[in-house]
Symmetry: C2
Subunit: 544 residues, 2 copies
């Protein structure tokens, strides 16, 4: 027999000690649990000696189904879910990720929504090359400082050493400005508002699937305007688009606000962000929008002639959301048994599990299940019929629950007789989430299903909002902040202290300013650190 | 005044001698024509010394509008159209291309159609990393031979020299197989059918916008099957999808067939292709579908356990269409005045040009034009109202003609009174294409416009088909073949000669076998080169 190349599965790599820590709980539903391995997605724990992960380790497939309970080990749960729900796998090069169809479908749902919003707000898609002359990166001082440690460089092309090294884009502000400089001449060419869907490469040392990978997918919007007011308005508009998406589609109650100076994008004047609280209460920066001012237009000489005939540098913005958002969705929702996807971004909204014991019943059940599927599909619902006979209905229940499908429809011989189905909600465990005797008459069932999907969507947002709010503590002193952070919570308090003080908080507590939220309390405020007057509250938290 | 960085325009770079060759014709509509330049998109004519194009040349913007007549210089016309219609620009690195919104919208139309078809035929989208260990490329012998001269290599990451060089993907068969090997275990995991939309990098020496660039966008489908028959069926199915797209959407009457051994993809058993005849009668390979057999599964040990419990290597396919197709659309349709886009893939299907002389008429005309626009937009027609008062109606007519918009609606004060509009077809020049007095009553106008768009779509396909058929010559001897090729035509004739003979034809005539078409004439055939019996006719042509 030929020896095939096999890689250890994701879950074993990301959480090598799980099988020792939770043997009984886990193995109930695990047929196989691979041995701990030293290879790893992240260089954090045990970096492989080479950049290319050694694939010559024999291994066996992890049985789909069981995951480490979320309440016991959040990180192990996250990695198990990604592996078992087949959201992603890791690439052969350290820190790279293969996005598998189920994970990619979530990204497609994000794209479908945002792409329409970008166009509605006046942006056109286009594409800039990913290879950027090294000299471009050096033109904007803080930009080079921020990005140069993370660059992947092409030095050989077509078998020859290149005269100038080329950067594999970590972001495109430099090349965008190089082109804008050629396209913009007068105020009539403004505003120039474009977006691209692309891959970017950053040589990260600590990686985690979706959250931080060597290469990731994103959209990057780039705009140029005639006035600073317009640029500011655009930067705000786009963070608003992201906020609306987070709330309404991903059911993530992000907090939108302004980054502190220390956390502002390399090259930006101001960075706006949406910060999401994950299930372990760490913050995830889920999207950013930058007011770039004239930093890049000065560096690249991007000028226009204004209405009075004067030459001026353009005012710019850039904004991005990436595949990291998929990680945010996974880590916001879910429970001990696995993923829980908001209906609006779920690749499968409804799974139908047919149930039969006697072979005589099979054809009748499958027949009815198939027409129910067709009816829901026609109604625009993303539905899957799991009609394989390799697995028991119980196994299927667990599997699709783990995959986070919002609704399950069960159809057995008795349901066929009564022309009704059983509908189970993913987000309400046990019998409470199960409703019997829903008519399978298409118009009734469709309406019922759509209604339930809406209910689940709201319910997930509601739960995440309660969770967030019960984990944000208002603090008025540094001591209170330290207590809150040590309890794993977010601390919100008035802040007007220095960058140095901000660094001190980071060093002493591990927390950073996530943002100065747009939503500010009224009244007089006193800086929690210095006791001086403060205009705003800031939110501090540990983050991904 | 700050000196801005300006690049010479595309048209000057691609066709430096145009302004000298066709001064009078051209300048009629050109306000500015930049001086000839030595920098070039392609290294073919005058390669710059460095890989990074020197951008510090002062220049001015080319006025939109006039292009070199297609009948006079096809290549100059192509480059002028790309520059003036703002389809693309070149990137700072030699041979790279920036796809501008109007060009990108054509690519989006291609994506929208194919993406649906891929899903309908059972494929899921996903994403593989673009960085591939160099050792992977070496595993399949003919693959490395085909691709190694064209590779871009990352040798530095995060400031450090890498232990193993990484290839920026030129295509993904190797990394796909590395992953398939981990995912495929039994026949139940098959077929595995995926697709990705991605960028790829090939260090081409001779580049041409859209047709051949250092980096391009494409989709690449990858499938694995349990039997060779299934793989063959899949490869054929996908070339059929491409063929249907070419005919029905792009109005390009491609010829589908099998590549000769010499022209088969590096690593494939069989390559199927769609070959399109461009306006200069050169062939463009517009899409390919490969039956990979077990070449990659043997190299990467991609095995499955079949129904009888035996371990077997999987049978695979891969298939791709790229941004090159946009070049094919440009070069198939069009005339002396510019682009001519098939309605189904046109970013703008209808442009409305309001006409007024007296300031008194302006508001009324614009008002009506705006409601006509809204009505057509609501009907799902891609419509643009060009209401700027910077330009005259005549200028706008020329501009939108050059941009290839299928239909123009003119609305003046008299039309407002009579509640009717003037409709002009892009593909029928002059008065013949102009119809007066079409009612602006929404339902009537919509029906008329949709009908005309359908007519244009068919007409473009019809014209391209006549052109193609009148330029394919049936030949029965090598002498006849040489005559046909020297006249710039395609030669079709029986072929059963050797690879060496095929090479001889290439060396002596510049033509290659484009394909053995699926559509074969009946009857006994004699090889045009050797006089031996031949089973098939082949098509020979010069190509891009």
């Amino acid at each position: 027999m030929v020896v095939s190349l096999r890689l250890p599965s994701l879950s074993s790599l990301f959480s090598p000690s799980i099988s020792r820590r939770y043997p009984s709980v886990l193995r109930r539903r695990h047929h196989l649990r691979p041995p701990p391995s030293s290879a790893s997605f992240s260089a954090q724990s045990s970096a492989p000696a080479t950049d290319v992960v050694d694939s010559r380790k024999s291994n066996q497939k992890v049985q789909e189904g069981g995951v480490t309970p979320r309440s016991q080990d959040f990180n192990a749960w996250y990695l198990d879910v990604i592996a078992n729900a087949e959201l992603a796998d890791y690439g052969p090069v350290r820190g790279t990720m293969v996005i598998r169809p189920y994970g990619y479908a979530i990204w497609e749902a994000i794209q479908d929504y945002l792409n329409v919003k970008f166009k509605e707000t006046g942006h056109s898609n286009m594409y800039f090359p990913q290879l950027i002359p090294y000299s471009f990166i050096e033109k904007e001082a803080s930009h080079v400082e921020g990005f140069s440690p993370e660059l992947a460089l092409v030095t050989i092309g077509g078998g020859k050493e290149l005269e100038e090294k080329l950067v594999v884009r970590p972001t495109s502000e430099t090349i965008v400005n190089h082109m804008f400089t050629q396209w913009i001449h007068s105020y009539r060419d403004l505003p120039l508002m474009v977006n691209q869907w692309a891959n970017v490469t950053r040589w990260e040392m600590r990686t985690k699937p979706f959250v931080r990978t060597l290469e990731f997918l994103w959209q990057e919007g780039h705009t140029a305007h005639a006035t600073p007011e317009e640029a500011e308005k655009e930067a705000i508009q786009m963070i608003d688009v992201y906020t609306k998406f987070a709330y309404e589609e991903a059911a993530i109650p992000v907090i939108a606000g302004r980054k502190s100076k220390a956390e502002t994008f390399a090259g930006a004047v101001r960075t706006y962000t949406i910060e999401a609280m994950m299930g372990d209460r760490k913050a995830l920066q889920a999207g950013t929008s930058h007011n770039l001012g004239q930093n890049f237009s000065r560096a690249f000489g991007t000028l226009f002639t204004d209405e009075s005939g004067q030459r001026q540098h353009v005012w710019q913005t850039s904004w991005a959301v990436s595949t990291r958002f998929v990680g945010g969705i996974i880590m916001t929702h879910g429970d001990d048994t696995g993923l829980m996807l908001p209906p609006k971004i779920a690749p499968i909204q409804v799974v139908i599990v047919p149930i039969w014991k006697k072979e005589d019943d099979k054809a009748g059940v499958l027949n009815v299940a198939s027409s129910v599927k067709d009816a829901l599909h026609t109604a625009g619902i993303k539905v899957k019929l799991d009609d394989t006979d390799q697995r028991t209905p119980g196994w299927k229940f667990n599997f699709w629950e783990m995959k986070g499908v919002p609704l399950r429809i069960e159809i057995g011989p008795r349901d066929v007789s009564s022309q009704s189905v059983v509908v189970c909600r993913r987000d309400v465990p046990g019998k409470q989430g199960k409703v019997f005797g829903i008519s399978m008459e298409p118009s009734i069932l469709e309406a019922y299903i759509k209604d339930k999907l809406d209910e689940i969507q709201s319910s997930l947002l509601g739960q995440a909002t309660s969770f967030r709010d019960s984990n944000i503590v208002d603090v008025s002193s540094y001591d209170e902040l330290k207590v809150a952070i040590s309890q794993g919570k977010w601390a919100r308090g008035p802040w007007s202290a220095s960058d140095k003080d901000e660094l001190k908080v980071k060093e002493e507590t591990g927390a950073t300013i996530r943002c100065f939220p747009f939503d500010q309390p009224h009244g007089i405020k006193t800086c929690l650190m210095t006791g001086n007057p403060a205009e705003e509250v800031a939110i501090f938290a540990k983050s991904y």
